[in-house]
Amino acid sequence: MTNQTQTSFPSVDQNSDYIEAALFYTSDLKKRCLSFHGKEGMVIYLESLTDTDLIERNVIVPFSRNQDKDLPELFTTLSFSLETELNQGIQGLLEGSCLYFLEGTSEFYVLFTPAKYERSISEPENEGVIRGPHNGFIEQMKVNLYLIRKQIASPNLIVRYFTLGKFAPKQVGMVYMENIAKPELIKIVESRIKKISLDWVITTGFIQELTEDNSFSIFPQLINTERPDHTSSYLLDGYVALLLDGDPTALILPASFFSFYQTPDDYNNRWMIASFVRFIRLIGFVTAFQLPALYIATVSFHSNVLPLQLFFSIQGLLTRVPFPPLIEAMLLELIFELLREAGLRLPNRVGQTIGIVGGLVIGDAIVKAGLVSYSMIIVVALTAIASFLIPSNEMSSAIRFMRFPLMIAASLFGYIGISFGLTLIFIHLCKLESFGQPYLRPLSPLNFQGLKDTFVRFPIWSIRKSTSNPKTNK
C-alpha cells in the first residue's frame, strides 16, 4: 500500500475516483449513491469483506426514512469514525468498513460493517483430551484472546499488538502476565518480533523460524498449541504466547525439551497415573529414536548379546534377506514414511484403505518376497508406534528424523557409534537455548524443584507452592 497521504476532496466523484484508482478498479468494490438533504452522497464498500445485510439495514434504510435528522444520528446502531485521510479510508475498506462521502464536506464516515464468517469454536483435532475444556483456537485472533481471557480473568494479562508484513499486513498479539513473566524475556521477544521484516506473513511458522535461537537445530524451540487451557497454564507459569490473526496456532516460548512431553491430560489424571503415563512416553522417546539403531548394531556387530534362542530365531529370520541391516531398515523406514505422508493427505475413508494396503499387504508381501525380515518389521513398527506417543507433532518429527543418523552410526561402529551419536545429540541439547533459557532445563542446569514436574508428576500441592516463584525465574 502507498505511504503517501491524501486528504479527502470536497467532491464525491473525485474521492471515488481516487479510491477506485488506489484499489486498481477491483470488481468487488461497490458504489451506491445516497443523497442527503439534497446534497449528493455516496457509499463505497468491498462487497467481499462487508456484511451487505448490515449495510442495507443500518445505512441505506435510515437514509430513506430519516431525512430530517443530522447525519451522525443516522448511524447510531453502528460504530463509526470521521476521517479526513483517504488512505485511512482505504485501510478501513480492507478491514471490512464502508465509507460514506457527502458532497462539499472535507470529512467522510468510516462505518464498521465487517462480514463475519467464523469457524465455530471446536476441539482441535490433533490435541484432543479426555477430560478438560474442549474448546480450541480459531482463525480470529479476537476470539482467541477472548478464550484466553475467559481462562485468566486478571488485569495482569496483557496483550501487545504488532503489525507484520509490508504488502499484506497482519496483526500479531504478544500475550503475557505482567507480574509473572520476566521483563528481560518480554524485551527479547519484543525486539525479535520488531526485527522481522517480511512482505507477508501467512502462518505462525514464519514467526517461529524468524524468532528462534538456532535455525540449524532440528529440535523445535517454540511450543505450538491450539488449546486455550494449555496456553493459559503456560502464561500463568511466566511464559509468553504469540498469536497471529488468521492462524489458530499459538506459539509459546521459551520452550524446554520436556515441555514437548507434557499434555494437559497429565494434570487431569491422578498424579501416580500421570507419572506412569509420562514414564511410558519417556520409554516411547527412547524407543522411537534408538530401537532401529540398537537392532542394527546388534545384528551386525554384537550378536553375542542375544540370548541363544533369540540368536537362532533372528538368524532364521535373516537368512533369506539379501541386504545388510542398514539398507533393510532404510527401505522399511522409507516405506513407512511414504505411508504416513500418503495417509496424511487423504480423506479419512481412503486413509483407512491406505492403512490396510500399507500395513497388511505390503508388510506381509515384502517379507514373503525376501526383501526385509519379520524382525525388522517388528522393530520399525514399534518405532513408529513409539513416535506417535510424543504429544507434540514437531518433536515427533524431530525424533523420527534423528534416528537416521543414529542408524548410520550404528551400522558403522556398532554400540560405540550409537553412544557417540547420542553424546553429540546431548551436547547439542545442552548447548541449545530458547529465548535465553536453557533448552534442557530443569535437567541441565539441574533443578530439583523443577524435576518434580518433569519425568514424573508429583502431586500438585508439592509442585505449586506459590505463584510468586515461576519457572522462568529460576
Binding site: 538456532n214 535455525s215 551386525s300 550378536s303 553375542n304 537362532f312 535373516l318 537368512t319 519379520y374 537455548e433
Partner: protein, 379 residues
C-alpha cells in the same frame, strides 16, 4: 546465535558426512546371518599327540519357523587354533564360538595339562569366557559330542542344561573359563570341574574331577561332590543327602532319610592356623540347617527323635567330610585355598613350604553339624 556458514566449512562437513557412507564392508562387522555358530566344542589327545577337535555346528533353518539343525565335525591339529583352522577347511567356512556354552576336555587332555589348551580363549578377546563351562569327560570328548542328539535336544543344549541344573543342586561348583583362569594362575588354590561320562549311550554325571595345578589328579563321586561344594562355602538352590540312620532305640530301627540343606543359610568356619613347628592346621566347620524331605519311617518325628537324628546325621556327614578331605589331599588339590590363606596371613611360612609336597601334610579337622529345622507339613 546464528551460524555463519562459509562455503569451505560447508563442503567439508558434507564430505565428512558422505565419506563414512562409502565405508561399507569394514572393520569387525559380522552380520548375524553370516555367522556359523559352534555351540559346543570338545578336545581330545589322539595317539600321535595331535589335538582332536570335535565341534557341534548349529545350522540355521532356511525357512522361518523351522527348528535349527546341528552337525558334528572333527579335525586334527598341533594345537587348538590349528585344529580350528583345519576345521574351517572342512565345514562351510568361518565358524564362530560366540555363544559357546561349554568346552569339553577328554581325560587324556586333562592329564597332560589344561592350560596350553585354554590359552587361546584368554589371548583372543573375541572368544567368550564369562559364561563358558569347562567340563571333563571320562573317555573321549568326541564320543560324547557324537551322540548329536539326546532325545529332542541337541547335545550342546543338553549338556549345558544338565550342568546348570546340577550346579543348582550343588553337585558342581560354579566354574567358568574366567574362574578357572584365576585358579590356574594362583599357586595357592586349585579347582575341581564337572566330570561326565558316557555309559550305555547315556550321558551320566561321574562327579567332580580334581585338579592339581593344571593336571587331572583324582575324582569324587556325586555324593561327595555335594559335600565338597558345601565345604567350599558355595551352594546352589538345593543340596540333598539321603542317609541311612540308625535310631538308638531298643528296637534299633534303620531308616532312610532325605534332607535338604540348600534352602537355609549355611554357616561355614574356615580357619588356617600355623603351629610352632610350622605345621599347618585347618579347622573346617559347617553348620547345616536341614529340612526333612522324605522319611518313610514308622516313627513320627518328635522333639526327642530329632535330637537323635541330628546327632546321627552329624556323625555321618562329619565322617564323609573327612573322607572328602582325604580324597582331596590324596589328589593334591588345594580346593579350599589353604595356600591362599598362607600367602595372605603367614607369608614367611608359605615361602619356606614346597606346597606341592607339603599340602598333603596339612592337618584338616572337618566337622559337620546338622540341625533339622523343619520336618515338612505332615505333622
Amino acid at each position: 546465535m546464528r551460524w555463519r556458514v562459509k562455503l569451505g566449512t560447508f563442503a567439508l562437513s558434507v564430505l565428512i558426512i558422505l565419506f563414512p557412507l562409502s565405508l561399507t564392508g569394514c572393520w569387525d562387522r559380522e552380520y548375524l546371518k553370516d555367522l556359523h555358530l559352534a555351540y559346543s566344542v570338545g578336545f581330545d589327545l589322539s595317539e600321535n599327540g595331535m589335538i582332536k577337535e570335535t565341534v557341534e555346528l548349529i545350522i540355521p533353518p532356511d525357512i522361518e519357523q523351522k527348528a535349527t539343525t546341528s552337525e558334528i565335525h572333527t579335525s586334527y591339529g598341533h594345537n587348538l587354533r590349528s585344529a580350528s583352522n583345519e576345521m574351517r577347511n572342512r565345514v562351510r567356512g568361518n565358524i564362530r564360538f560366540l555363544k559357546n556354552g561349554f568346552q569339553l576336555f577328554g581325560k587324556s587332555v586333562a592329564e597332560h595339562g589344561l592350560y596350553s589348551n585354554l590359552d587361546v580363549n584368554f589371548r583372543d578377546p573375541t572368544n567368550p569366557t564369562s559364561n563358558v563351562r569347562v567340563i571333563i569327560a571320562e573317555g573321549n570328548a568326541s564320543d560324547i559330542l557324537e551322540q548329536k542328539m539326546v532325545g529332542e535336544l541337541k547335545i550342546g543344549e543338553f549338556i549345558t542344561q544338565k550342568i546348570v541344573s546340577l550346579e543348582e543342586m550343588s553337585v558342581f561348583p560354579k566354574e567358568t573359563l574366567d574362574t578357572v583362569f584365576r585358579f590356574l594362575k594362583d599357586p595357592g588354590q586349585d579347582f575341581a570341574l564337572p566330570y561326565i561320562a558316557i555309559e550305555s549311550n547315556e550321558i551320566i554325571t561321574k562327579g567332580l574331577a580334581l585338579f592339581n595345578d593344571q593336571y587331572y589328579s583324582g575324582m569324587l563321586n556325586p555324593d561327595q561332590s555335594i559335600l565338597l561344594v558345601l565345604l567350599k562355602g558355595q551352594k546352589g538352590k538345593n543340596a540333598r543327602f539321603t542317609k541311612k540312620i540308625v535310631l538308638g532305640y531298643p528296637d534299633n530301627i534303620q531308616e532312610y532319610i532325605t534332607i535338604n540343606v540348600g534352602l537355609k543359610k549355611v554357616k561355614r568356619k574356615f580357619k588356617v592356623s600355623v603351629s610352632a613347628d610350622e605345621s599347618v592346621e585347618v579347622n573346617l566347620e559347617l553348620k547345616l540347617q536341614a529340612i526333612v524331605e522324605e522319611f518313610p519311617g514308622e516313627r513320627s518325628l518328635k522333639e526327642k527323635d530329632l535330637q537323635k537324628i541330628n546327632q546321627a546325621l552329624s556323625e555321618i556327614l562329619t565322617k564323609e567330610a573327612e573322607s572328602v578331605v582325604e580324597e582331596v589331599q590324596k589328589a593334591n588339590c588345594d580346593i579350599f585355598g589353604v595356600g591362599r590363606k598362607l600367602i595372605a596371613y603367614h607369608h614367611n611360612v608359605w615361602k619356606e613350604k614346597n606346597w606341592s609336597k607339603d599340602y598333603r601334610k596339612v592337618q584338616f579337622h572337618p566337622k559337620v553339624e546338622v540341625k533339622i529345622v523343619d520336618t515338612g507339613i505332615l505333622e
